[in-house]
């Protein structure tokens, strides 16, 4: 993918690299805890039945994020 978009825009099966985190405070630290830093590769695995949250593959673990949060992770 070219240009900058957010994790939220990834379609199922798409991969992207994290550019930067826009979230602040405890959510920022949470995301860092699970290994989401600049350069981390993330794959969008699947949406939940209601469309939100979405499961991502992050450093070998499957983590579900809500759209509010995934929209604050810039990827390219």
């Amino acid at each position: 993918m070219n240009g900058i978009s957010t994790l939220k825009d990834l379609k199922q099966g798409q991969k992207a690299k994290v550019k930067s985190l826009l979230s602040t405070g405890s959510m920022r630290r949470r995301l860092q805890d699970i290994g989401l830093i600049e350069g981390t590769e993330v794959e969008c695995l699947q949406k939940s039945p209601a469309g939100d949250p979405v499961a991502f593959l992050i450093r070998g673990a499957v983590i579900a994020l809500r759209s509010e949060d995934s929209s604050k992770v810039l990827v390219s």
């Binding site: 405890s26 939940s48 939100d52 070998g60 579900a64 809500r66």
Partner: protein, 718 residues
């Protein structure tokens, strides 16, 4: 918010965890690790204890301790809650952090998930900053092998400078190797220093500035780590630290001065507080990445294809919800069908035994009142509780534990999160609700996995809308007597299961509604962000599941119920037999409650049974039966039909039956749960709210239902 620092901070460790050494030579070993890496399984295997395990993150909410003997040493093992890092965000993570940092364990075993080692190393590296006495336990080696992941443990050990042992928690031999490493580590004199994460130059410069003065002032804590934490301004950590030291470290003039200079150095290099934390975290993650880069090999890229396939069935748009409902239905159907026969067998045996005991009482010439109190009171209620409760529990708990072990529960949270978000609540509430199925007190404790205090309170207050095991038998009995009876043969239990599922769905809907109302009124706020890990599916150990769920859960819950049932039986017999002003105490009480209870579609006896059932919901139904029997002529209850006849004779209609079920679903929590809520929230106010909210909901819903139903039935008759 009612959640004071003392309830969530170090005091929680103080009050909840007193290390009990058998002798002063005992070594204290902390068992740390990311959530859901099989820490509790390792703990159980080492100590022979039965800490409850399950395949979902955040299950260990309180620290447990047990003993393990290896060679000539006794080790006190402390199983602390899972945490991703030592930058704590939630109450349970603080418990973990505080124990590693200030609990002064002799060594820390960091349990890692072999299938996800890189991320787990983050915690290892952070722990190494605090203490050199670390043993890395790479657990789930079997899972990794299945996924074609090969790990060079020796190379990692060389890099980290501490022992690294691979384990399969179910394999005793691998655990022995682990204890061997611990033993070797503790007997070894300090020589080589473990791996240290190096930070960008400005941060290292800042650390170098303050480390000497810190080293001078505090001997007990690693000075480099403490310097870093002071620069990082982690308020909750500093508060815990001050509690540990017994003085305010930031009040020290020398430290204050150096810290100011060091912070200036950072600032000059353009590193603000937020940026500092970012760089610390990045350094840790990159260090873990570099350690793993040539020691962990994935032979196949799509190593978790199977899990993705299962996920596509269990959590996809079209099949996610149907599968969830079918599973719930299936579990209930199996419970009801399976429980029928043993239940009647048990009750037959108990009543046969009652006759024998009665004969014995006559034989020794015991007075009537003694026979009444002990046999008709204590024994009979006890017999009821056991025969009605034991079979469904013995089936439900293993089934549920199976789902838990498989890793299905986090998927439920994943499926339902959107609805929780709409109610401004947290998806992890679904997990605490699942725990509530077993026991609401456990569900309330489980709420610690929710980070935001506001969302945690919502989960605590609404947990009671999920019927616990004590209430299932009541619901099942009423459904079988009044609603499923019309369907014949095998359909009867399908019908019962469907109706029970419907009742539970109603409870879930009420949970959503009340959560929404709470977040619009007394617990205003927006949903906070959340991350939920969906762990890999694991094959449950069926034998172990059955043993564990029967011994840990079934017998425990049954024991508690029986302990309450015996005295309650006594009280109810006395109330039914002591006469004041021409009628029994029971009649006085139920007569007093009757007018109000009628408004709710109940009667005085039912309402009184719920009140007397405060210590345990299990005894509500037995009390109702006892009360009716003591006033009526019917003495023998041969079958469920006799029981129905008894209820009908006492004025029960389908409206009474539904109202009783609704009230059972929604009334005050049992006393154990109330005490747990008080302990968890540290607030009388929120405990009261947790009592009032479900009670009000129950009264309101029962009132509406009973009166609308009555009006309708009158209208249709006309």
């Amino acid at each position: 918010m009612g959640l004071t620092n003392s309830s969530t901070g170090i005091k929680a460790v103080d009050s909840g965890l007193v290390i009990k050494k058998t002798s002063p030579d005992d070594k204290v070993i902390a068992l740390a690790g990311n959530p859901n890496v099989g820490k509790s399984t390792v703990f159980n295997s080492l100590t022979g204890l039965n800490q409850h395990t399950g395949n979902w993150p955040g299950k260990t909410v309180t620290s447990a301790q047990g003993y393990c003997h290896y060679r000539d040493t006794t080790y006190v093992l402390v199983d602390i809650p899972g945490t991703y890092s030592l930058f704590a965000h939630s109450a349970e993570e603080e418990v973990a952090r505080d124990f590693i940092c200030f609990g002064e364990p002799d060594a820390v075993i960091v349990v890692c998930d072999a299938t996800c080692l890189e991320r787990n190393l983050n915690l290892v590296l952070q722990t190494l900053e605090i203490t050199r006495n670390v043993v890395v336990c790479v657990n789930l080696m079997d899972e990794a092998k299945k996924k074609n992941i090969s790990i060079d443990l020796d190379a990692i050990s060389q890099k980290l400078g501490v022992p690294v042992t691979g384990t399969v928690a179910r394999n005793k031999k691998s655990l022995e190797r682990l204890m061997q490493s611990v033993d070797k580590l503790l007997s070894k004199k300090e020589d080589e220093s473990p791996y240290r994460v190096s930070y960008p130059k400005p941060i290292e410069d800042a650390i170098a500035l303050i480390e000497p003065v810190i080293k001078e002032k505090t001997q007990k804590i690693d000075s480099r780590w403490l310097s870093l934490k002071l620069l990082d301004c982690d308020d909750s950590l500093i508060a815990a630290l001050n509690g540990y030291l017994g003085y305010d470290i930031l009040a020290d003039e020398d430290i204050k001065e150096k810290l100011a200079i060091a912070k200036q150095v950072l600032k000059d290099n353009g590193i603000t507080d937020e940026a500092l934390r970012d760089r610390i975290v990045s350094s840790l993650i990159l260090a873990a990445e570099s350690i793993c880069s040539d020691t962990v090999h994935y032979d196949k890229k799509s190593y978790n294809a199977r899990d993705r396939k299962i996920d596509r069935i269990l959590t996809s748009k079209w099949t996610g919800f149907p599968v969830m409902i079918v599973l719930l239905l299936f579990v209930f159907w199996l419970t009801i069908t399976g429980a029928n026969y043993p239940s009647s067998l048990l009750s037959d045996s108990f009543f046969w035994l009652e006759d024998r005991i009665t004969d014995f009482f006559h034989y020794i010439g015991a007075p009537d009142w003694l026979h009444g109190m002990l046999v008709l009171g204590v024994y009979r209620v006890l017999a009821w509780v056991v025969s009605v409760m034991l079979p469904p529990m013995a089936i439900f708990f293993p089934l549920f534990t199976l789902l838990e072990d498989l890793g299905y529960l986090p998927r439920v949270a994943f499926n339902l999160d959107k609805y929780f978000k709409k109610c401004s609540a947290c998806g992890k509430q679904a997990l605490t609700m699942c725990m509530g199925f077993g026991c609401n007190a456990a569900g309330v404790t489980g709420c610690r996995i929710i980070d935001s205090p506001r969302e945690r309170l919502i989960a605590v207050i609404t947990n009671n809308f999920v019927p616990c095991n004590g209430r299932f038998p009541t619901l099942i009995a009423i459904i079988s007597m009044f609603f499923a009876g019309a369907a014949a043969g095998p359909f009867e239990s399908v019908m019962s299961a469907t109706l029970l599922t419907a009742v539970i769905m109603f409870g879930i809907i009420m949970t959503f509604a009340v959560s929404k109302i709470l977040s619009l009124t007394i617990l205003k706020g927006v949903p906070s962000s959340f991350t939920l890990e969906l762990p890999p599916y694991r094959k449950p150990q069926i034998g172990k599941v059955i043993v564990r769920s029967i011994f840990d859960r079934t017998l425990f819950v049954l024991g508690r119920a029986a302990a309450v049932a015996a005295p309650a039986g006594l009280v109810i017999w006395i109330m039914a037999n002591v006469t004041v002003n021409g009628s029994t105490l029971l009649a006085h009480c139920s007569g007093f409650l009757d007018p109000f209870a009628r408004l709710l579609g109940l009667d005085g006896v039912i309402l009184m049974a719920f009140i007397l059932g405060l210590p345990a919901n299990e005894i509500v139904f037995p009390i109702i039966i006892m009360a009716y029997m003591s006033t009526g002529s019917l003495v023998e209850l041969e079958s469920l039909w006799d029981l129905k006849q008894l209820l009908v004779d006492n004025g029960w209609t389908w409206i009474t039956a539904v109202s009783t079920m609704l009230f059972s679903l929604m009334h005050w929590p049992c006393s154990t749960t109330c005490i747990t809520i008080k302990k968890e929230t540290q607030s009388l106010k929120w405990t009261l709210v947790s009592v009032i909210v479900p009670t009000l909901a129950g009264i309101l819903i029962c009132f509406l239902f009973a009166n609308i139903a009555r009006l309708l039935s009158i209208a249709f008759r006309v």
